[in-house]
């Protein structure tokens, strides 16, 4: 066979002195790096993706995975990725795929923003002693409310409030479909969402019956493939999301190959076993904003007016698009920045299309305020939220809540190796191979994800306390409490943030 001219990225090595030939590495590796040679473990290192499953399960710490020191000659212009992709394309004529969010070194604005703290003139608040409120309601808010005095002299609401989604903290899980991730991974998300009082999102893979018990914590998604969509599905969660785009692949559809459509996935998606599941790039009944409006209201009619979220990729003109979406009747605008993750996307698209979420939040929040319609919809920000600090900064820039996916997968073992599109995930996350998915025990991993959410919850409370505020709504859009470090005047202006020192 023709040997690829792209050298392996990683070298998997086994210390033969330490190895006890237990073969666990062979069982654990989803990519087939290891095989049994009769008397020792053989290694096909070109298959290694450095997901580190074998390393963690080797009882003797005999395994080492290192970046291949044999690389193309260093070149500041013709980078490793360029050469590698060209060689792969020359060999296959195809589009190199990738998974996870872009790892290219574009400026990360989150890392150039710092949060304020109180000193002397206003006291900080100790979250261990004082109440600290993170509760968040997503949905359309009226611009004012009217009351009447009840007979007992107490306030009674006259205004009819639009439906709201209650979150105990402003973090939800981003959509990930059954098909792109395993059912066990979805169960982890659902169990954690329920326990933490937040929401998970089905993505566009329909809803497996095992998730029915979690319906109070589920947003169901309608995307261009319309998989699994029927009236029961639309009503199966607390809200419906229309997916227009995804940060990692704006303007691009999806393709789940037939090999990844076993019976269970096929049933949830309502398609025949083994057929390719193709999500077209656009939704073929939405070619304009007025079409979107019709779909929003069709869904509202079908669900007795549940909140409708519209998810878009953050692109250059995101502010105007978001404004149109709000005016079209959406209750929530979900913005997905270009760093957002994916199960599979052409790397050329993932790495070069869209804009960062930080810019998008600022632009959209500003635009909706200028138009006086900020109360008409909540903003969810996603696409590279790595920590509670990123979440706090996104909220201070103007988001109502953030959505996380990669961070949640990391609690399940993911090491962001970026090979999700192969369907071989050794951690049982982005695969449907039963021997791999079986290793992801939902109970065990839900506990870890719950721990993460609780940890971020504590951190957010500490941040609020340092800021001297005790409710999340006082951080939301409060850009006065952010400062930029090393950002130029124009970016500061776009973000509406002062430079540090001012």
């Amino acid at each position: 066979m023709f040997k690829s001219l792209a050298p392996p990225e990683y070298l998997a090595t086994i210390d033969r002195e330490k190895c006890i030939r237990c073969k666990r590495c062979i069982q654990n590796c989803g990519w087939g790096v290891y095989s049994w040679g009769g008397d020792k473990v053989l290694i096909n290192t070109s298959k290694c993706v450095k997901c580190l499953r074998c390393y963690h399960y080797c009882p003797e710490e005999a395994i080492e995975i290192v970046d291949n020191p044999t690389r193309f000659k260093q070149n500041a212009y013709w980078g490793y990725n360029h050469l590698r992709n060209i060689k792969r394309q020359a060999e296959t004529g195809g589009i190199p795929l990738t998974g996870m969010g872009s790892d290219l070194p574009y400026t990360i604005l989150f890392d150039s923003l710092l949060i304020d703290a109180c000193q002397v003139t206003n006291p900080s608040i100790d979250p261990l002693r004082e109440p600290m409120e993170l509760r968040t309601y997503l949905g359309k808010k009226p611009s004012s409310v009217e009351f009447e005095k009840g007979r007992d002299g107490k306030l009674k609401l006259k205004t009819k409030m639009p439906p709201q989604l209650k979150l105990s903290l402003p973090i939800i899980f981003s959509p990930m479909s059954f098909g792109s991730i395993s059912l066990n991974a979805q169960k982890v998300l659902a169990m954690a969402a329920k326990e933490c009082g937040i929401l998970m999102n089905t993505g566009e893979g329909g809803l497996h019956e095992d998730l029915f018990p979690y319906r109070d914590n589920i947003i169901v998604q309608v995307a261009s493939g319309r998989f699994g969509v029927n009236p029961d599905y639309l009503n199966a969660g607390v809200a419906v999301e229309i997916k227009i785009g995804q940060g990692a692949k704006p303007g691009i559809g999806g393709h789940l190959p037939g090999e990844k459509i076993p019976l269970e996935v096929a049933r949830a998606r309502m398609i025949p076993v083994g057929t390719d599941a193709i999500s077209p790039a656009p939704q073929h009944d939405i070619y304009s904003i007025e079409d979107l409006r019709q779909l929003i209201y069709a869904i509202k009619e079908a669900t007795n007016y549940k909140p409708v979220s519209v998810k878009i990729a953050a692109v250059h003109n995101v502010a105007a698009i978001a404004s149109g979406i709000v005016r079209a009747g959406a209750d929530i605008v979900y913005l997905d920045g270009f760093r957002g993750g994916t199960g599979a996307a052409p790397s050329i698209i993932r790495d070069h299309l869209g804009i960062p979420i930080e810019h998008a939040i600022a632009a959209v929040d500003d635009r909706l305020r200028q138009e006086g319609i900020r109360n008409e919809a909540s903003i969810i920000a996603a696409g590279g939220i790595r920590s509670s600090a990123d979440a706090a900064k996104a909220i201070a820039l103007g988001a109502d809540a953030v959505a996380i996916a990669t961070a949640a997968l990391i609690t399940m073992g993911c090491t962001t190796c970026g090979k999700c599109y192969t369907g071989n995930c050794s951690w049982g996350i982005t695969t449907q191979r039963p021997e791999l998915t079986a290793r992801l025990d939902p109970e065990v991993y839900a506990e870890r994800l719950i721990n993460l959410i609780h940890a971020w919850e504590h951190e957010l409370k500490e941040i609020l306390g340092a800021l001297g505020i005790n409710a999340i709504e006082s951080l939301r859009g409060n850009r006065e409490r952010l400062r930029g470090v090393g950002l130029d005047t124009q970016i500061l202006d776009i973000l509406g943030v002062k430079p540090a020192g001012r």
């Binding site: 003139t121 409310v145 850009r479």
Partner: protein
């Protein structure tokens, strides 16, 4: 977007009193009460507001205007004449005070909007608010610091005693008084920066720092307010104007917005009330004043005192006969009312609401 501003931060002392029966009380009391708390300020700002002081002009808006230099006066008067009937113009009476060698030119105008200038169905109050916004943001060197009917604010750079003598406060008689001494930490003294801060009949004195300022400001901007002073007090004043005058909330509900009850408390209420308060917080989250504050706000029908929701600034209240007193310190009340009928410290977020009898 106006984000590159320097926010004004200050600590302070405040005091206020009201006669429910509209008994007009001379200025001497409030001056004495405020002067007791001189150490809560640093001499860089003090002020007084009084209601019921202009009975002979009670149907006219009393514009108190300061001019950085006299020539601006003519530009301003030109503008006023085009939009208002002017009943009377006079310089605000002042006395020379050693500690105040320089002061802006201070003039008051008793005016009423010209009917034909109020295009469409614009309300009189909105017309006056627009004038205040326009003059303060567009006519350089002129600043309207009081614009209500039968009330007025008097304020400047100086300590409580000097400002009182300068404005001859003791010569006025009013049924509601508020007063304030200031400890600005970062602004050069500017007369307009002192409290009370007023808009129409609203007057606010405020002690504290609103840590939610950034979002409160942006929320108000969405409704067309221009925040030129960059102080927390300005935010509080406009917020009340928005909630009460423009959106029609009553005063107790507006207080529930500014110092919202905790969710834990809301969740424990009976259904109707719970639903009402939940909607209030959901709708007005951006109007919550978060961070330490105590505020007294006067209006044509009464006086309200309120604290932040975990009481990070002091506020004491007392009553004696028909008069209610509220101040940063109990001593400031006892200085003018040695034997009150009742003295109490209002709980965090619980407003003290006093209404004038008709």
């Amino acid at each position: 977007m106006n984000h590159d501003y320097q926010k004004d931060i200050s600590g302070c002392g405040l005091t206020g009193l009201i006669s429910r029966k509209r008994r007009r009380i001379g200025g001497a009391d409030i001056v004495k009460s405020l002067c007791l708390m001189t150490d809560r300020g640093n001499g860089l700002g003090a002020g007084y507001a009084a209601y019921g002081i202009y009975p002979e002009f009670k149907d006219f808006y009393a514009f108190h205007i300061m001019f950085d230099e006299p020539s601006v006066r003519w530009t301003l008067e030109e503008y006023l004449k085009n939009n208002y009937h002017i009943e009377k113009i006079e310089e605000i009476p002042t006395s020379p005070v050693k500690a105040i060698p320089i002061a802006p030119l201070l003039v008051r105008y008793f005016v009423t909007p010209l009917k034909d200038k109020m295009a469409g169905d614009i309300q009189e109050a909105d017309f006056v608010v627009n004038t205040v916004m326009k003059v303060n943001s567009e006519i350089e060197g002129a600043y309207i610091f009081s614009s209500g009917k039968n009330m007025g604010a008097f304020k400047g750079v100086g300590n409580p005693r000097d400002i009182a003598e300068f404005f001859r406060i003791e010569e006025y008689e009013g049924w509601t008084w508020t007063a304030h001494t200031r400890f600005p930490t970062n602004t050069p003294g500017w007369w307009g920066g002192a409290h009370p801060f007023t808009l129409l009949d609203w007057s606010i004195v405020h002690n504290g720092e609103i840590s939610s300022y950034g979002i409160n400001k942006r929320y108000l901007e969405m409704f067309g307010y221009k925040l030129t002073l960059l102080t927390d007090t300005e935010v509080a004043a406009y917020m009340l104007d928005l909630l009460i005058r423009r959106q029609g909330l009553d005063i107790p509900s507006a207080c529930l917005v500014l110092a919202a009850p905790f969710w834990k408390k809301i969740d424990s209420l009976p259904e109707g009330e719970r639903e009402a308060l939940t909607a209030l917080r959901q709708t007005y989250g951006s109007a919550l004043l978060n961070g330490p504050f105590s505020i007294l706000f006067g209006h044509s029908k009464g006086l309200v005192g309120i604290n932040d929701r975990i009481k990070l600034r002091p506020l004491v209240a007392a009553t004696k006969d028909d008069v209610t007193y509220m101040a940063s310190e109990e001593s400031a009340i006892r200085a003018i009312c040695p034997a009150p009928d009742k003295v109490w410290a209002p709980r965090a977020g619980d407003p003290v609401i006093v209404n004038l009898e008709d």
